[in-house]
């Protein structure tokens, strides 16, 4: 009996081993084959996205994954590349002297089914974006267009009152509520892409859900969309500027786990990859790692009306918080230097009126990046005497963060610094991301961690967040002078004057500080040496591979 069992066991083991060895050999061969293949057809770009693309319907897109693909398969009136506005479907345009009327003259261009791209396609797209029945999450982008807000919120129902009109096949007129210097660049957002009414009607609810359920007019065509797996783009042979496009094919793989993506990059399967924040420590001294600011600014929003916490309404107390934080130490401890300390609202990359950057032309330097514990205590003492509080421990503050490991690390450093430098009682509350947003809207917080990704290259995208009547301003902070300056900037056509309004407004905001600015986010990435022409920008599609090529 025993002999028989031993022999069966031995036989099974041999089969298993042989099987493994066989599969092993096979894999090695095909792996080699794969490598030589990719070397011969070199103009194929492969990279990873971390999640399924939620939508490729131009007017419903609401995510970075969508924007990256949309930028390649569609083309709007203009194309934004490296922050510069280039002609797109519009060959040229005229802007009226009051800066409110834009007239675009379209070039001869074709959709991927051979039909011409017309001004009516743009008119239809913008009307569809703002139609409340479309329920576009990005409709707010069209609020700068005349009657855009009124039509989307149901205050008017006549679509003809909307400030967009196709004069003829080749001419499109857009009227704005106020002059907006950023508007041209804004038009490169996915939601302003042209859309074919006949195609939308043909597919109904299935429009743009599969690669074959839409037509394309961009430098690339969406060839295949394997849901949960990735998309394949191919060069569009009919694109008007096809000579500028070098890539033949782009594979965008869906790899949810950033560590897997990193392994695939190291194995040569991807051409570039982001470094997961959790692994930053391991890669930060690697000379091949590149860094980019992705446009996000983060801060603690303070609720001036938090019940039972009168100190939050006290400006001196809020100043004390701002002085007490050593932002330099904070980013180095919590993010190993990945994030950059920041002490104001508007992002450093935002363009200025005089050709430079806004933050350089309009410096604000109130709170030192390394903090100032002495000044913090001084302001705290002032606040305590005004509020008649004897012991700083009686002052409580709850920091609300979302429940990710990264957020928790940030919260703990802040808690430590505030406790150490002010002696107040600071607690941390971790909630789900959705709950954090809900609590923020419902004004149920003392201090909530959040941030902002810009929609366009202008200080307005940040500063209007703190206007009294802005739905984003849950702080309860309201300053008539600030509101007046923002409103003045909104209607001012002179760029230099407008910038002065912004500067004055931001100074008031940082001085009265209904928020505690913390950091600008950076992302590290690795990229193959022979890959050129990639553009990474802080607005719209962060990643622009349209003009990329391999040397």
């Amino acid at each position: 009996m025993k002999k028989k069992l031993v022999s069966i066991l031995a036989l099974l083991m041999v089969i298993l081993m042989a099987g493994t060895a066989f599969v092993g050999c096979g894999s090695k061969n095909s792996a080699e084959k794969g490598n030589t293949e990719s070397a011969s057809k070199s103009q194929v770009l492969t990279f990873a996205q971390t999640a399924e693309i939620p939508s490729l319907d131009p007017q419903l897109m609401n995510s970075m994954q969508s924007a990256e693909v949309a930028n390649a398969i569609f083309e709007g009136l203009v194309r934004l590349h490296d922050g510069k506005v280039q002609p797109g479907m519009a060959e040229k345009w005229d802007i009226s002297s009051d800066g409110k009327t834009y007239t675009f003259h379209l070039r001869d261009a074709k959709w991927s089914d051979g039909q011409p791209v017309t001004a009516y396609n743009f008119e239809y797209g913008i009307r569809r974006l703002l139609n409340p029945k479309t329920s576009s999450p990005y409709a707010f982008a069209g609020y700068c267009i005349l009657n855009g807000y009124e039509y989307n919120s149901g205050k008017i129902t006549d679509v003809n009152q909307l400030g967009v009109k196709a004069i003829d096949e080749k001419t499109l007129e857009i009227k704005l509520t106020n002059p907006a210097a950023y508007f041209l660049g804004y038009l490169s957002l996915a939601c302003f892409m042209p859309t074919r009414e006949d195609i939308v009607e043909k597919y109904g609810n299935n429009f743009a859900l599969e690669a074959e359920n839409n037509v394309y007019n961009g430098p690339f065509i969406l060839k295949e969309w394997k849901h949960e797996s990735g998309v394949t783009l191919e060069k569009n042979p009919d694109y008007w500027n096809k000579d500028a496009i070098k890539l033949d094919k782009v594979n965008i793989l869906q790899i949810t786990d950033p560590n897997t993506a990193l392994s695939m990059y190291e194995n040569g399967e991807l051409d570039f990859v982001s470094i997961p924040n959790a692994l930053w420590d391991k890669y930060k001294d690697n000379p091949k790692v590149k860094l980019i600011m992705n446009g996000a600014v983060d801060w603690l929003r303070l609720n001036l009306n938090a019940p039972g916490k009168p100190w939050l309404a006290n400006e001196d107390f809020r100043k004390a918080l701002n002085y007490a934080i050593n932002r330099e130490e904070y980013v180095n401890t919590a993010t190993k230097g990945l994030y950059l300390p920041y002490t104001r609202l508007v992002l450093p990359m935002v363009a200025g009126a005089k050709g430079g950057k806004y933050t350089e032309e309009c410096p604000i330097d109130i709170y030192p990046k390394t903090g100032d514990a002495a000044k913090a205590k001084e302001y705290l003492a002032k606040a305590m005497s005004a509020l008649n509080i004897k012991d700083p421990k009686d002052i409580t503050l709850e920091l609300k963060f979302s429940d990710s490991a990264a957020d928790k690390a940030l919260a703990e450093v802040l808690q430590d610094q505030l406790t150490r430098n002010l002696g107040i009682a600071v607690t941390i509350k971790l909630v789900t991301y959705k709950q954090k947003l809900a609590d923020d809207t419902a004004k149920q917080y003392d201090a909530v961690y959040n941030g902002w990704m810009p929609d366009y290259d202008d200080p307005m995208t940040y500063l209007e967040l703190f206007e009294s009547n802005n739905s984003q301003n849950s702080t309860g902070w309201s300053n008539a002078e600030f509101d007046k300056l923002i409103e003045a900037a909104r209607t001012e056509a002179d760029a230099v004057k407008r910038q002065q309004y912004f500067w004055d407004a931001e100074k008031i905001l940082v001085e009265e500080c209904p928020f505690v600015p913390l950091q600008c986010r950076q992302v590290g990435y690795l990229e193959k040496d022979n890959l050129k022409g990639m553009s990474r920008y802080f607005i719209g599609s962060d990643l622009d591979f349209v003009f990329a090529y391999f040397e």
């Binding site: 069992l5 599969v23 090695k28 792996a31 989307n152 949960e228 392994s263 739905s471």
Partner: protein
């Protein structure tokens, strides 16, 4: 027997209804709403609420949902604009099931084999070896063994692809990683139940009749010892076939496992409900089948079931 099956079936249906109702209420109690995002404005949110019918009273939404459910319609995903949960499941379930079936088959064959061998070699080296594998398999979480296998056999030895789901070679690592836990559970269960059976009187009778050891193992020991394994295989199969979050994520497999987590993070009500219904029906069906098989195999259960 017919009455027994009918009774089980009605209980199963009722279980699913209770499940749907409970989850329907629970998701609405979660803080926040599906459309909240950093850039949402009240006007746009109102448009979206109206689009998905969330502006109606909750009981109207509930009956609407149950009505659709009876027609097999799980509704539109709230995160993946205009894609129906049915379509998403139809696209992702086959992949998860493929991965799952491979893992179950591997785990069952290897697990039964190791369990039987361990029991027959009770107290010897091979027994300890099997127990060791079982302990490792049960105690090492998927994300460790998945990453480890990927690192060693994918990145370092380059024997298998690191990730993705493109053909047989791509299945080896995830199937093995996913089967480890099940394999360990089956090994342990089979070993324990074999050891119990070996000491029964009827085995001694069989030996006394002069049957060969091979006949005793296959005819008497295995048939009696395998019952507990059948019991645990039901829910394990339902769990593995309907997707596994960790292994699918590590190996970038386009299955449905991800939605268990992302559905909740996104507060995608229809997705959460759809996943619950799908998994619930699967689990209830698996248990129903196990119950029926039990009834067929063991008359004692059939009688007490009345």
């Amino acid at each position: 027997m017919g009455r027994y099956i009918l009774k089980r079936f009605i209980i199963s249906l009722f279980t699913v209804l209770v499940l749907v109702t409970t989850v329907f209420i629970l998701v609405r109690l979660m803080p926040g709403d599906p459309f909240t995002s950093e850039k949402m404005t009240p006007e746009i949110k109102a448009n979206m609420m109206a689009y998905y019918g969330f502006d109606k009273p909750l009981y109207v939404q509930y009956f609407h949902y149950i009505g659709n459910l009876l027609r097999g319609d799980l509704g539109l995903s709230l995160k993946y604009s205009n894609r129906s949960v049915n379509t998403i499941l139809a696209q992702t379930f086959p992949v998860s099931a493929d991965l799952g079936i491979r893992s179950i088959v591997l785990a069952t064959i290897l697990g039964l084999f190791l369990g039987i061998m361990a029991a027959l070699n009770n107290g010897k080296f091979f027994d300890y070896f099997c127990v060791f594998i079982a302990i490792v398999g049960v105690s090492v979480p998927d994300f460790i063994n998945g990453s480890l296998l990927q690192y060693i056999f994918g990145l370092k030895l380059k024997m298998f692809p690191i990730a993705r789901w493109e053909g047989f070679r791509y299945t080896v690592l995830p199937v093995f990683a996913l089967s480890l836990y099940t394999l360990a559970v089956i090994t342990r269960t089979m070993r324990a139940s074999m050891l119990e059976v070996i000491n029964q009187d009827y085995i001694m009778t069989a030996q006394a009749k002069g049957l060969s050891s091979w006949q005793i193992i296959t005819r008497h020991q295995l048939r009696n010892a395998i019952l507990p394994v059948v019991t645990i295989l039901g829910p394990i199969t339902a769990g593995i076939l309907t997707g596994t979050f960790v292994i699918e994520q590590i190996y970038a497999i386009p299955g449905m496992g991800r939605f268990y987590v992302s559905g909740i993070n996104d507060l995608d009500y229809s997705m959460i409900l759809g996943m619950t219904v799908f998994y619930g029906v699967f689990l209830v069906a698996a248990n129903f089948i196990v119950d029926v098989i039990y009834g067929l195999v063991d008359p004692r259960i059939r009688i007490s079931g009345k």
